[in-house]
Subunit: 241 residues, 2 copies
């Protein structure tokens, strides 16, 4: 989805910069400022961090209508849950599914203190709502931008990206059995195997090993520990005899 | 899930305040600061907006271990996707499902510029990753806090009590530290601690213990093994003399 973020009458340049950074984090770079009350100065650039290019190319316009002229879908944000707009309200989580296809889409955020006006909300085909605590429901402007663009980006990236990310290298069952056998030898050498509780201990160790999803490296480290302890015990025995 | 947010060595008070606001937005109020480089002053309070109560009650501690003492689950955040931690990495979206039940849980965030150290990550049973654009992957600290607590809150308001059926009993961080200390004594007695590879072994053991979500029973069993092996080594030594 080609997405443009539209900030209506933002008053703090730190928020404009932080919104730009959030956009860049989530792969977006088209920013439009409607009647911004704050300039884009040093503070905005500091908050933008590595997203200076988003600030530099931001478009400044005089009205919301002008900002939306070349858009096909308009999504507003509101904490209001009035009956009037209830039919168009979706949560941030529900939004990506509503935006399938590749129609140019504007995400419109209101000023820090007051949000979008009722008139401005009438431009919006969808209203996105971020469920939050009743104790302190009001999100910072840039935080609200982050949540919405985060949801869109997560939906857009392919599952293969995620699979590559979380692909763990796991030890084979054979390696795990080798480790458990090694631990058994060590505990037997220490006289533990004759203990009445030993069967339970073996069972617990096996369950723990199975649950821990050991890597080949970890199996090697744990076998190294068994070997060192085994040698230490054996040295003592040779010393005894 | 009772969740505590832990900020390790935060350097900008604006970020501390913005993180507090994000927490309040998503129904959280327990904040711990580990060796904060920034004071909690006017700037932090301005960014906290309606979340002054979170800042006022924030606990300041001198080490990560102290921050985690009464926690049962520890979730770190990292942009690193090394093979070493791959088995423990989940995305922010996957996190809520991993945190079913009501074990006290810490969400640990590193300093703005550098993130958590490799050593600090070994305290973390899970590493949460926020997929972001390669162009500008680095999220602002408070934005990262928002994304993670947002996901937990959205899951909490939609899940039912059914998920608590599979509630596992987890060892506290204090119990896990006791076990790691006991293992260290044993390996030191066996002469392993003098080895050049030993630091790496310790790191691997800590990461493994953190990831395995040990039960109090398992900690007891593993300490029993340490004790038996320790006795066996000591007997030999007495036999030597």
């Amino acid at each position: 989805v080609p997405v443009t973020v539209v900030l209506v009458r933002p008053t703090r340049q730190g928020n404009i910069g932080a919104a730009a950074r959030a956009m860049a984090n989530m792969g977006l770079d088209r920013l439009v400022l409607v009647e911004p009350a704050a300039p884009i100065g040093d503070e905005a650039r500091a908050f933008a961090f590595g997203a200076g290019h988003v600030l530099e190319s931001a478009r400044r316009v005089g009205s919301l209508a002008e900002a939306l002229a070349d858009q096909e879908r308009v999504v507003g944000t509101s904490v209001v849950r009035s009956r009037e707009i209830a039919t168009r309200v979706v949560t941030a989580k529900e939004l990506p599914a509503k935006l399938a296809g590749d129609s140019p889409t504007a995400l419109v955020f209101g000023p820090e203190s007051s949000g979008l006006t009722t008139e401005e909300l009438t431009h919006c085909g969808l209203i996105v709502h971020i469920p939050s605590s009743n104790v302190q429901p009001s999100l910072n402007l840039a935080q609200a931008v982050m949540v919405v663009v985060y949801e869109l980006y997560q939906a857009a990236i392919t599952t293969t990206d995620l699979e590559q990310l979380t692909l763990p290298e796991l030890a084979s069952q054979e390696e795990v059995e080798g480790l458990l056998g090694h631990a058994h030898e060590l505990l037997a050498a220490a006289g533990f195997a004759r203990d009445s509780s030993y069967t339970g201990v073996q069972r617990d160790l096996r369950a723990l090993a199975a649950r821990s999803a050991l890597s080949p490296h970890e199996v090697k480290v744990l076998r190294g520990i068994c070997r060192r302890l085994g040698h230490a015990l054996a040295r003592r025995e040779i010393g005894d005899s």
